[in-house]
Structures are given as C-alpha cells and as structure tokens.
C-alpha cells in the first residue's frame, strides 16, 4: 500500500517534471544539459525491471532523450494483470550523455486469491527491488544508418526479493542475485524497423519474483535470450512483438518462455504509453497466464 502511494507520487513528480521540461523547450537555446537527441520512441520504453527497452526485453538503448552531450531520464508505472496474479511496477531511470543508464524499479507480485490456494495466504505479495546500470559500448542507434553495426550495451541488475523465507521454502537458493546482460539493438530507419537481441546471464525464477537458483536447476548462471521486433508506423506509434526465455530452476513449478505483442504511443518526447498482451505461460503451478500489460512513462 505504501509502495503504491510512493509509486503514484513518483509518477506525479515525473509528470510535473515532464510538463516543466515541455514548457521550457521553446525558451531553451541548444547547448544546455537538458538537450534533445534521438527520434521519438527510439529511446525505448521502461521495461518491468526498470531498464530502457521493450516491455519484457532489455535493449541497448540509454534511457531518456538526451544526446551525447546531455542528461535525460524518466519515471514509469506499469500494471500487468493475469487471470490469477497481478504485477505492479514503478521506477525511474537516468541517462547520462547517451552513454550510461542508471535505473531502479520496485515490483510487487500480488498472488491475490491464488495465494490462499498456494498456501501463502490471501493477497500474499512478493516485492522485488531492481538496481540497474547499463553502458553503451559502441554504435549509435539513430545516426549509424550507413552501417550494419548495431548499438551494443552491457548491463548489470542487482535484484533483491523481500520474501527470503518463502522463496527458500519453494526451493530457491537465494533471495538476491545479480544479472549480467549484453544487448544489441539496431534501428533500420529505411525499413521503419527496430530489432533487438539480448543475452542475459541470470539465476532468477520468474525474473527473481520467486527468488534465485533452485532445487531443480541449481545455482549456476544460465544464459537466457530476449528479443524484440518493433515496426514504426509513424512518428508516434510503434507496434511489435517480444520473446524472453528464462532459467527453469524450481522443482515445484515449471516456468515458460514469455511472449508479448505490444503497441506503444508517444505523445511527444515527454509522455508515452504502452499496452501489450502477453503469454506468460505457467506461473507458480498455475498454467495459461495470459496477461494484459499497461505502462505509462514520463520523462525528458
């Protein structure tokens, strides 16, 4: 409840910030730190772990609309609802000089009435904090249109689940872990197409919402794949599809590859919304978790 209030406050602050930035634009000569780079939507949106990307995949993009000379950032709030569970998520990300991204997200995985069936209790909620850092290594998503070289970034995410006793009880080895990933994102402007492929080395069960490592899969890092394909319909609209594979470490519950199809709408460089329909497979023994995903982002 308090985390939800904090999320709303963060969103409100973000919107106020964005409105301020929008208002300042016409008065601002170029050359300031709050500059403007990239094309609409080419900064990606905020994914569930707080990094810039698609909804479930992480891209090589750096958060915000700054150029190589400035700083940018955004806040987001996301809701994912399946027949049996819900995930609420809020966070913030800062982009420094289109080189370094620092991000934070808090996820609340609410088991709702299913919690009672699982023996956890009605409305039992797992919380997870994700602290992320991402560095753009080479390539520029927008400018590099005359070469096949993608924008490539490397990142880390430190995750802490706030239910250590329960995640141990279901078979996880730990309630905290660090993911490592390498992402390559290419914008084919002349095809209106964006392609991302990411390899993540991780131990997370359902990305860490059910802890890390497990009685079945052990505690070693496993390579998982994330991919996004986005088609830019016009300046404001992008539609696409995503896939994300995950380790499958827990004995009590199989986990499946995630898929989604999405539509993202950017009003301008300050406010965007994303809706998606996701197939999340089996979650904590309950199969066929098809989800509606709604996310709002505000920033500069």
């Amino acid at each position: 409840m308090s985390s939800r209030r904090l999320g709303l406050a963060a969103m409100a602050a973000g919107l106020a910030m964005a409105a301020g930035a929008a208002h300042a634009d016409p008065l601002m000569e170029s050359g300031g730190l709050l500059d403007s780079g990239k094309l609409l939507l080419t900064g990606g949106v905020s994914n569930i772990e707080g990094a810039s990307g698609g909804g479930i995949a992480t891209w090589a993009t750096i958060a915000g609309y700054e150029s190589n000379d400035g700083v940018g950032g955004n806040v987001h709030g996301t809701f994912v609802g399946t027949p049996n569970y819900s995930l609420t998520d809020y966070g913030a990300a800062v982009g420094l000089f289109n080189r370094l991204e620092l991000s934070y997200a808090h996820e609340a995985f609410d088991t709702g009435s299913t919690g009672k069936e699982l023996g956890l209790g009605q409305g039992f909620t797992f919380g997870q904090d994700v602290y992320g850092a991402k560095v753009r290594v080479i390539g520029d998503l927008v400018y590099d249109q005359n070469t096949l070289l993608p924008q490539i970034a490397a990142g880390v995410q430190y995750k802490v689940n706030d239910q250590p006793a329960i995640v141990h009880a279901v078979g996880a080895v730990s309630n905290s872990s660090t993911d490592f990933y390498i992402a390559a994102t290419k914008l084919f402007l002349n095809y209106n197409l964006l392609v991302d492929t990411t390899v993540r080395f991780a131990k997370g069960n359902q990305t860490g919402l059910l802890g890390f490592g497990g009685d079945k899969g052990g505690d070693a890092y496993k390579a998982a794949f994330e991919g996004s394909l986005a088609y830019l319909i016009d300046k404001h609209w992008a539609v696409g599809a995503e896939v994300r594979t995950k380790p499958n470490n827990l004995g009590f519950a199989r986990e499946d590859t995630w898929y989604d199809v999405f539509a993202a709408y950017a009003i301008n460089k300050h406010v965007s919304a994303t809706i998606a329909y996701a197939n999340l497979g089996s979650i904590a023994t309950i199969p066929n978790q098809n989800a509606v995903y709604v996310s709002l982002q505000a920033g500069f």
Partner: protein, 166 residues
C-alpha cells in the same frame, strides 16, 4: 496501406543494398527520372528508383518543403541564431538540390561537402537533432508519407559524423 508502404520500402531498401548506386541508376525502370549527374559532395549516395522522389512530390514538393524548413529553422529558438548572416537563398537552393539528388531525383548538388560547410560552425548534437525535427515537421506539412521520410532520414543521419564537431 501501411504494410503496402512497408513492402515497398523494404523492396527499395533491398534494391539499394544489393545494387551499387551507379548500377541502380543504369537499371532504373522506364519512366524514372533520368540518371542524375554524380554529386560527390552530397554526403550520401541517392536512394535507388524514383518512388521516394515521387513521394516527396518531386522538385516542386521539395521546393515547398525547403521554403517551409528555412522559415522553421531560422525562427527555431534552439537554433535560429546559427543562421544570422547566412545567405538563405543559397541555402534554400542547395538544400533543394541535395534532397532532390538524395531522393533519387534528376538533380545535381553543386555545393561543397558536408564537413567543409559545417567545419567552422561548431555544431552540437542538439543542433543537428533540432534540425532533423524541423525537417520532419516540414515533410509532414507536405504530407510526405512516414516511410519515405525515413528513407531520406536514413541518408541524412550518418552525416552527423561530418556535421557535428563539438
């Protein structure tokens, strides 16, 4: 409609990937504008075929876009001061030549190369991006379809490496 555009754009892009520009000009379909003279200073090779040039409403459309664009950039609070004392008539003429040439039209670009022209201006990424945004607005006003706009932007974007020096 969008998918038709996409298919067309993809086909065009595929052509430009597989055929060197000179060859593409030699094998341009019947009814295409005649092959443009080579313009080594234009900063990029032209888009193959004439679909993009036609989507820009040919030279008249490009002229309207540039009239609007020059008005925009010289009054844009972010970058307007960059054009104090500039010869706007010549800028207009050269931009029409360059965009006509790059979109596959029958024009020659007679200006100097991108690096030389911008060398003393000390431009930053923010300037380059503001210019690109203004160009998008001018292309919108001419109702150039998004796929055709992006074909041109894909030719212009790499010029950042020559134009931005600061």
């Amino acid at each position: 409609m969008t998918f038709k555009h996409f298919a067309l754009a993809a086909a065009l892009a595929a052509t430009s990937l597989t055929a060197p520009p000179a060859l593409a000009q030699d094998t341009a379909p019947m009814g295409a504008p005649m092959a443009a003279p080579s313009s080594p200073n234009a900063g990029a090779t032209p888009i193959a075929g004439d679909a993009v040039y036609k989507a820009f409403h040919e030279k008249d459309g490009i002229q309207r876009i540039m009239d609007d664009f020059i008005q925009r950039i010289t009054t844009d609070p972010r970058i307007g001061r960059r054009f104090n004392g500039a010869n706007l008539d010549r800028l207009n003429l050269l931009l029409v030549q360059q965009v006509c040439y790059l979109t596959g039209g029958p024009c020659e670009y007679t200006g100097r190369d991108m690096k030389t022209v911008h060398a003393s201006m000390g431009l930053k990424n923010d300037d380059f991006n503001a210019l690109a945004e203004d160009l998008q607005l001018s292309m919108d006003r001419e109702q150039v379809p998004f796929w055709a706009q992006n074909q041109l932007l894909a030719k212009l974007a790499p010029m950042q490496h020559q134009i931005v020096t600061k």
